[in-house]
């Protein structure tokens, strides 16, 4: 028997919005410690990792590990039926081929339940090895979304250059070039509005805009985003999911000689 009750149901809705652009279907791995989802996007260029800790749920029960393959388009349709302040419960039997979503209004006046057919997805479990990153940039998530959106008008890829002075995002294309520089915020009043750079060495990497723009769909989850970079390893874009977990996107840097 699996059961997870999340008071802040809107978080789950936002998580789904953050991944459904990239994935058509995915397996949710449910274990004692919590729920995990890890999958590569259809084109196998980026990887998404969602982690929801058991402690973050109001009620969490998982008798034995199980995997639930879900069609994310269908799941998103179901979650659209939940109001933002609803409490969401996910329930499944140990060897079931369906999962049940229960939406309770805060006043308990309205309870709706939806059952969805599961998919049998046979896929490998993937992971990214732990890495020490040469620089970690924290910035307001809205700002990052805006930068990616603006620069994607110029070219297909964005260069992120991180140095002691700050971080520079730039793009070049047919119509011209665009550069956005963010300096480290000197005085920190509100942490989530600040630009904070932790750096061992300067790093400059290039990434495809279309993926960054898909990652920024997670912006509503958290006011702050962190970008971790090291030469020749994938960029990590991380948003926290309230206080119950986080979502990470991995994207391999573009190498110059590769597809022009």
């Amino acid at each position: 028997m699996f059961e997870a009750r999340l008071v802040q149901g809107s978080l789950l809705k936002k998580v789904l919005d953050a991944i459904k652009e990239l994935l058509n279907e995915a397996s949710w791995d449910c274990a004692d410690s919590g729920i995990q989802l890890q999958a590569m996007d259809n084109s196998h260029v980026s990887l998404v990792s969602v982690n929801l800790r058991a402690e973050g749920f109001d009620k969490y029960r998982c008798d034995r590990n199980l995997i639930m393959g879900m069609d994310l388009t269908s799941m998103s349709k179901i979650l659209k039926c939940a109001a933002n302040d609803d409490i969401i419960t996910m329930k499944a039997q140990d060897n079931a081929d369906t999962v049940t979503f229960i939406f309770e209004s805060p006043s308990q006046e309205k309870v709706s339940d939806y059952e969805m057919k599961l998919m049998n997805l046979d896929q490998d479990h993937l992971g990214i090895p732990e890495t020490d990153y040469a620089c970690v940039i924290k910035l307001p998530s809205g700002e990052f979304a805006r930068i990616c959106r603006d620069l994607s008008n110029f070219g297909e890829s964005i260069v992120i250059a991180c140095s002691k002075e700050g971080v520079k995002f730039s793009a070049a294309g047919d119509i011209g070039t665009g550069n956005i520089k963010l300096a480290q915020t000197s005085s920190v009043d509100k942490e989530e509005e600040a630009v904070i750079i932790e750096m061992q060495e300067p790093v400059t990497l290039t990434f495809a805009c279309r993926y960054l723009n898909m990652f920024t769909k997670a912006t509503p989850l958290s006011p702050q985003v962190s970008l971790s970079m090291s030469p020749d390893v994938p960029l990590v874009v991380e948003y926290s999911i309230g206080d119950i977990g986080q979502i990470q996107y991995f994207l391999a840097p573009k190498i110059d000689d590769q597809d022009t």
């Binding site: 590569m40 034995r64 998919m119 991995f250 590769q258």
Partner: protein, 1090 residues
């Protein structure tokens, strides 16, 4: 390339300069040809003697069996000489005494190559035939002007010539006044005066025509009228054949005393070389005994080159290492000669003679000598025109071989490569190389197949699988070098492969009866055999038209290319779609278009411009007709049309051939007759096309649009008649309904329930309706479909009955089973479903089968060869307006490896792989082998929605109705998928695979464990399960491997075949990968403890 290539190029560009504004190909060819001769004579003085001397002595010692049978001594005074000609050309040579025609200067001489019954090769020089054409005669022109006209034209012509290598003084041989009639339009059968102008050389025709047309010929009494030319655009060979009643590949007899035999100074390598006057020989119509075929030698060869890795072989760098040869006699089943020429020593091969050489130049020269010695009449092979021949010639050129490039029968003519372009409606634009081999007809199988068959792939492997159901080992050219550099055994392996490639074209030619069918086509249409492959459709109709026109003193105007006026095509009756579980009778018009032309006397010669013209000729209203498209033609009572006459004789000949076929017992002669009736049918149908081809030699839209208009009204009329007659009121049990009609057929639902009843009514209706049409239009009852699935216009399927008791076959039209722009999975699935629906009459079984296939697709259980789509790369990238998958992929592959990348004209195989959302399909195309090797994920969604869904829904909608989509495409069977992860790509190298439980897929911490703690309880169960899976894979792999070993013909050597057309290859690759993975899974269970 060195000096050898230079003259060729210079000569080509020179030829181009000669081109007038209205020149024709003939002139062009002529120039090139002359230059060739000149050039050869210089270089060749010592060569030809040298070669000949060596040749005959050498070979008579080694292999007697290569040569042709010895020839019998003949006396021209007493014996007649009979042979079958297969190739006709002409050259410019010296006149021979005692022959008709021009006696001074150079004259054109026709040359017929052929074979006599004993199998001796023959070259017959035909003298005295001069080229001519007609021009209109100005009204004031009479006999007295002929002399002046001739001298003036002669002077103007000589002035116009840029060079006069032949020292021609009399360019115009004669001018005659003749009474002829233009073929175009009705002229009340009145003949008018035409000038027949005979010139010295064929190429002068175009010049003379131009000068006369431009008003360059001034005469004192007449001035400079514009002379309109007739029949000036006819190939010289065709002209000759028409005037002497020769048809392609017919038997020719030279009666005693008319011919002479050459004993010395032979021009050619033929055993007999004879001279005859053009009006003295006898042509035997290919009827009765004269329909037989002489024992032609058909020579098939294939070369192998040692390419470098990643580069397609280039003749100036990569050597030719092997040449495999097969020679067969027409009419025999097995080649009598199998030889292989190899570079470096090669182990012996049973049944074949191996000739090894240490020097490549020696090998090439020995091969050329061998070819000359075998003296084949027909040379075949696969893609020899565009690959093997040019490669050999370029290579020999590179090695500076003087003796190699004499592959034709003329001793003094060097074989050179030229580029030729063939533009035709039927085939599109094709660029080809052409190599001259005088007297030997080149019959490239690839060109035949591309012309006559629509296939998914034209590789020899795919073709042999398609027609012979045999796979063939395909050694990639990058491996060839390794085999060559190995030992005699590895070279033997290559040699076996090479010999097989030389044998397959012969077997295919035999199986498809190409040669016999083409010979019959040449006989029926009266053009030389080689024209059938190198020229378009029109020349065939043109030749027939000319033959008939000559009989009636008609002349053909020269058509100037004009814009394209579209006209309405055939009609279709709106289909009443559905699944009919009752018999549907089909009524067909037999030979619809030819019979319309015959019935209504539609022809060039009967065309009236309008009712006004009819009045001018004093025709009464019942002497001409108005066609449904508003054109006017006179009736046969006033003038019998030429085209109807041609068609009548073609159809009569076909009837006769079919009757003879029934009586014939000899299998070879049956083949000939069958080929004949087929050729006659095709010819009859192509007459209509000829009148409609705007870019053609003599298009006439009035005819073609009248024909289609008649067709349309006839279909509508038939529907009306059938539905009017077969009603309840007229005493029939059911009301008949025409559910569909196309160009020449209507489908009728009579409402009866058995096939026999439907047949009865069908026959009756056909007779009833036929009575209402003008003869010879005939509506025939042909077949009954039961059940019948009518999907849309030109899309239907049904079980085909011609007898009441048993169906003949399943007939599908326009359904994905026969199209080639989709993947095999579609064709196979649709085909099986149709079989289940129509033959087994089990629509639900078909639904289940479709679901199962979709489920297999989503779970990666479908073989990748089923998913391969192929498209031909027809144009360079820039010429495609929109981006296309196969073009993009060809570019991608070129970057990876320029050697194996597809080239222009190749069919590119690809599969669609998964991409990010919104990625256009053209970016997702990938090479199937690359996909297999890197286990790239396939875009199953694409195959489901873009390939399978529409065809599937089309056939199931008539059965399942609206539920079809949800049942088939969204059911439970779509909810199980297997997702693979690519081994290449930006992320692949960073990701580590986490271990998961073999039993329930839950991630577990250590990779050394196989199972999670929940599944541990069932360990033995799961282990056994995995063992069984491993065993199954192992068995599958062994079977595939054995299959491939059998195909390569050796069971103790590694399989190296990489044939992209072979489904077994893909399966073998896939199983190989799966087997490795499965093995790893079992390792995780640890070593078995006993």
């Amino acid at each position: 390339m060195d000096k050898r290539a230079a003259p060729t190029n210079a000569q080509n560009s020179g030829a181009k300069k000669h081109r007038g504004d209205d020149d024709d190909d003939e002139m062009d060819f002529e120039d090139g040809f002359l230059d060739d001769v000149d050039f050869e004579e210089e270089v060749n003085g010592q060569d030809s003697e040298d070669i000949q001397g060596v040749d005959f002595v050498d070979d008579s010692k080694t292999d007697q069996c290569w040569a042709r049978p010895a020839c019998v001594q003949l006396n021209p005074q007493e014996d007649s000489f009979v042979f079958q000609q297969i190739e006709i050309d002409h050259y410019i040579g010296n006149p021979i005494e005692g022959m008709p025609g021009q006696q001074a200067g150079k004259v054109p001489v026709m040359r017929m190559f052929g074979i006599n019954d004993a199998g001796n090769s023959v070259c017959c020089h035909v003298h005295g035939f001069s080229p001519y054409f007609y021009v209109t005669c100005p009204p004031t022109f009479n006999e007295s002007h002929l002399g002046e006209f001739k001298t003036t034209l002669n002077r103007v012509l000589l002035d116009d010539m840029r060079s006069n290598k032949e020292n021609i003084t009399d360019a115009v041989l004669s001018v005659d006044l003749t009474k002829k009639e233009s073929i175009l339009g009705y002229h009340a059968n009145r003949k008018v005066s035409f000038l027949k102008i005979t010139v010295a050389l064929p190429r002068l025709i175009a010049a003379a025509k131009r000068l006369l047309g431009e008003g360059k010929v001034y005469m004192t009494d007449i001035g400079t009228p514009i002379y309109e030319a007739f029949e000036s655009n006819i190939d010289f060979e065709i002209r000759f054949m028409v005037d002497t009643h020769l048809v392609g590949c017919c038997w020719v007899e030279l009666p005693a005393k008319t011919w002479s035999i050459r004993k010395e100074k032979l021009d050619t390598r033929c055993q007999f070389e004879v001279d005859v006057a053009w009006n003295k020989f006898v042509v035997h119509e290919p009827e009765g005994d004269w329909a037989r075929l002489a024992p032609f030698r058909i020579f098939s060869f294939d070369i192998e080159c040692a390419g470098r890795k990643g580069v397609f072989p280039e003749p100036d760098k990569d050597p030719v290492i092997q040449i495999g040869n097969m020679v067969i006699c027409q009419g025999e089943t097995e080649p009598f000669l199998r030889t292989i020429f190899t570079l470096k020593q090669c182990a012996p091969i049973i049944g074949a003679k191996v000739n090894s050489y240490n020097n490549e130049k020696d090998m090439l020269e020995a091969w050329a000598k061998f070819l000359r010695e075998v003296d084949p009449d027909i040379i075949t092979g696969y893609n020899i025109n565009n690959f093997d021949f040019p490669y050999l010639l370029n290579r020999a050129n590179h090695l500076k071989s003087q003796q190699f490039p004499f592959l034709g029968r003329c001793k003094s003519i060097r074989s050179v490569i030229k580029d030729s372009v063939l533009q035709s409606r039927q085939m599109g634009r094709r660029e080809n190389k052409s190599i001259n081999t005088e007297g030997r007809c080149q019959f490239d199988l690839l060109m035949v197949l591309v012309r006559d068959y629509k296939l998914r792939s034209y590789t020899l492997n795919a073709v042999s699988y398609h027609f012979l159901q045999e796979q063939k080992e395909d050694v990639h050219h990058s491996i060839i070098s390794d085999l060559q550099n190995g030992n005699p055994q590895s070279r033997r392996r290559l040699a076996v492969y090479c010999l097989k490639d030389a044998l397959l074209p012969l077997r295919l030619l035999d199986k498809l009866m190409c040669i016999i069918n083409y010979i019959e086509m040449a006989r029926v249409t009266g053009v030389p055999l080689s024209y059938l492959l190198t020229r378009g459709q029109q020349i065939k109709v043109m030749s027939q038209l000319l033959r008939k026109a000559v009989e009636q003193d008609l002349v053909l105007p020269v058509h100037r290319g004009s814009g394209s006026d579209e006209f309405e095509g055939a009609t279709v009756i709106e289909p009443r779609k559905g699944y009919y579980n009752v018999p549907i009778a089909t009524l067909d018009f037999s030979s619809l278009y030819p019979s319309i032309m015959m019935a209504h006397n539609l022809c060039y010669t009967t065309l009236l411009t309008g009712p006004q013209m009819a009045q001018d000729y004093g025709l009464s209203a019942d002497e001409y007709i108005k066609t449904p498209s508003g054109n006017y033609f006179v009736k046969a009572s006033k003038r019998k049309g030429l085209l109807p006459e041609i068609l009548e004789s073609l159809l009569a000949a076909r009837k006769k051939a079919k009757n003879d076929l029934k009586k014939e017992t000899d299998p070879l002669r049956m083949k000939v007759l069958d080929g004949r009736q087929l050729a006659l049918k095709i010819s009859a149908n192509s007459v209509y096309g000829f009148t409609g081809a705007q870019a053609g030699k003599l298009p006439c839209l009035d005819i073609s649009q009248s024909v289609t208009a008649f067709g349309r009204t006839m279909i509508a009329f038939t529907k009306e008649q059938v539905e009017e007659r077969y009603t309840l009121e007229n005493g029939y049990k059911h009301k008949a309904e025409v559910i569909y009609g196309d160009t020449d057929s209507v489908m009728v639902k009579f409402g009866v329930t058995t096939v026999a009843e439907a047949m009865e009514l069908g026959k009756e209706a056909a007779i009833y309706v036929t009575e209402k049409f003008v003869k010879p239009i005939k509506l025939e009852f042909e077949k009954v479909y039961f059940p019948y699935l009518l999907i849309n216009k030109k899309r239907y399927a049904g079980l085909y009955f011609t007898r009441a008791d048993k169906h003949d076959k399943m007939d599908c039209k326009g359904i994905e089973t026969v199209r080639r722009d989709n993947s095999p999975i579609v064709a196979n699935l649709i085909n099986t479903c149709l079989q289940k629906i129509l033959i087994e009459r089990n629509p639900l079984g078909a639904v289940d089968y479709a679901k199962q296939t979709i489920s297999d697709l989503l779970c990666n259980r479908v073989d990748i060869s089923q998913l391969v789509i192929t498209k031909e790369l027809t144009r360079a990238e820039k010429e495609y307006t929109a981006k296309q998958a196969h073009v993009e992929l060809a570019n991608k592959m070129k970057k990876r490896d320029p050697g194996t990348a597809p080239k222009l004209g190749d069919r590119v195989p690809y599969v669609i792989i998964a991409g990010a959302k919104g990625t256009p399909a053209y970016e997702k195309a990938e090479d199937p082998i690359y996909v297999l090797e890197n286990s790239l994920p396939i875009d199953y969604e694409y195959y489901l929605t873009n390939q399978l869904s529409k065809p599937l829904l089309r056939i199931f909608e008539p059965i399942l109705g609206d539920k079809a989509e949800s049942q088939l495409l969204k059911g439970d069977h779509t909810r199980s998928r297997i997702i693979t992860h690519s081994k290449v790509g930006a992320m692949a190298k960073f990701i580590t695979k986490k271990a998961s439980c073999v039993g329930c897929k839950v991630p577990i911490d250590s990779a050394s464990e196989a199972l999670c703690k929940h599944c541990k309880l069932r360990e033995s169960d799961i282990y056994m399960h995995q063992m069984t899976a491993l065993g199954a894979l192992e068995e599958k792999f062994s079977r595939l491997w054995t299959q491939c070993q059998r195909c390569q013909g050796s069971i103790h050597e590694e399989v190296i075949c990489t044939s992209r057309d072979c489904p077994i290859f893909y399966m073998r690759k896939k199983v190989q990968i799966e087997l490795v993975d499965q093995d790893k899974i079992l390792e995780r269970f640890g070593a078995p403890a006993w």
